[in-house]
Subunit: 154 residues, 2 copies
DNA sequence: TATTGTTATACTCTATAACTATA
DNA sequence: TATAGTTATAGAGTATAACAATA
């Protein structure tokens, strides 16, 4: 591997080997996802299915479109995803009495159990990932990430 | 054999609305990339082309395969990417005298100039992204990200 | 007319296999 | 036999347009 140990830079903008923040995030994201995929697969879920269950675990979605927006997913792709989750008995779609176009999406007890199981696996992996970080460092990192996510929410 | 630290059952593990670390990283990555894409496009580069130039700005690649591995990219897709960069005069491929199968890839002065221009745009955007963070917080965040990237390099 | 859910289609990105020329 | 570069193709993932039912 590359071992270019540079002294701390004065003006980072002129250094060619200073990693872009976006590149750092992209690398970490890919590695975390690659590590999590087998855990999800072992319990019969795809990444997007897990994300959907995670959202629904917080509360039901009034419409599929709302769920798609919360997930940052495409509403047309969500259809097939929910079909599979429904067949597996992990979610339930029922028509909204107020608006018969809409379908309220809710997680089932079985879906909640599956979600918790996967989530515990994933959190164990995350603890391993952050093993070298002190509690304070972990809190600081999580706080920074949360700020970054919410910064662009406006 | 690696042991997964088990006995510490913490309170956060039972919360459904605690964001996964992976989800946080994925969200931030997507947003950063979405914000950077127009900057890259305005200067005629794709994300992967920029990544290639970033690597080559540090030093030439002895083989295309080595470059692909450094980038975390596929060697077969790299061909077309380098073709376009070469046609644009941003990189140069010359046969290795030592091994006539290999082609040494180097960035051209024009490529370096283009890379610097885009990089400055991107860094300006990153500064904007971290506007709410103090210098210490920015350093801490970057240090944490760097640690996470290198942790799995082994 | 606008919106929800849906389907079909096209497009992009990615992965795999196979070929050539060298070693 | 193995490796670097290349090509072609198949597959997954994604985006876009259009439709029926309802508001």
């Amino acid at each position: 591997m590359r071992t270019i140990s540079q002294p701390e830079a004065v003006t980072i903008d002129t250094r060619d080997d200073q990693e872009d923040l976006g590149a750092l995030f992209a690398q970490i994201t890919r590695r975390v996802i690659d590590a999590e995929r087998p855990l999800l697969h072992a319990r019969g879920l795809s990444m997007w299915e897990y994300i959907a269950l995670s959202r629904l675990a917080i509360g039901s979605a009034p419409t599929q479109q709302a769920l798609a927006e919360q997930m940052g997913y495409d509403k047309t792709r969500l259809i097939d995803l929910l079909d599979k989750l429904a067949v597996a008995g992990l979610v339930q779609r029922r028509p909204d009495p107020q608006d018969r176009r809409a379908r309220i999406v809710a997680i089932t007890p079985s879906g909640r159990a599956r979600h918790r199981a996967v989530r515990n696996d994933i959190r164990a992996l995350e603890r391993e990932l952050l093993a070298g970080f002190s509690d304070d460092e972990q809190r600081a990192l999580r706080a920074a990430l949360t700020r970054l996510v919410q910064a662009h929410d406006s």
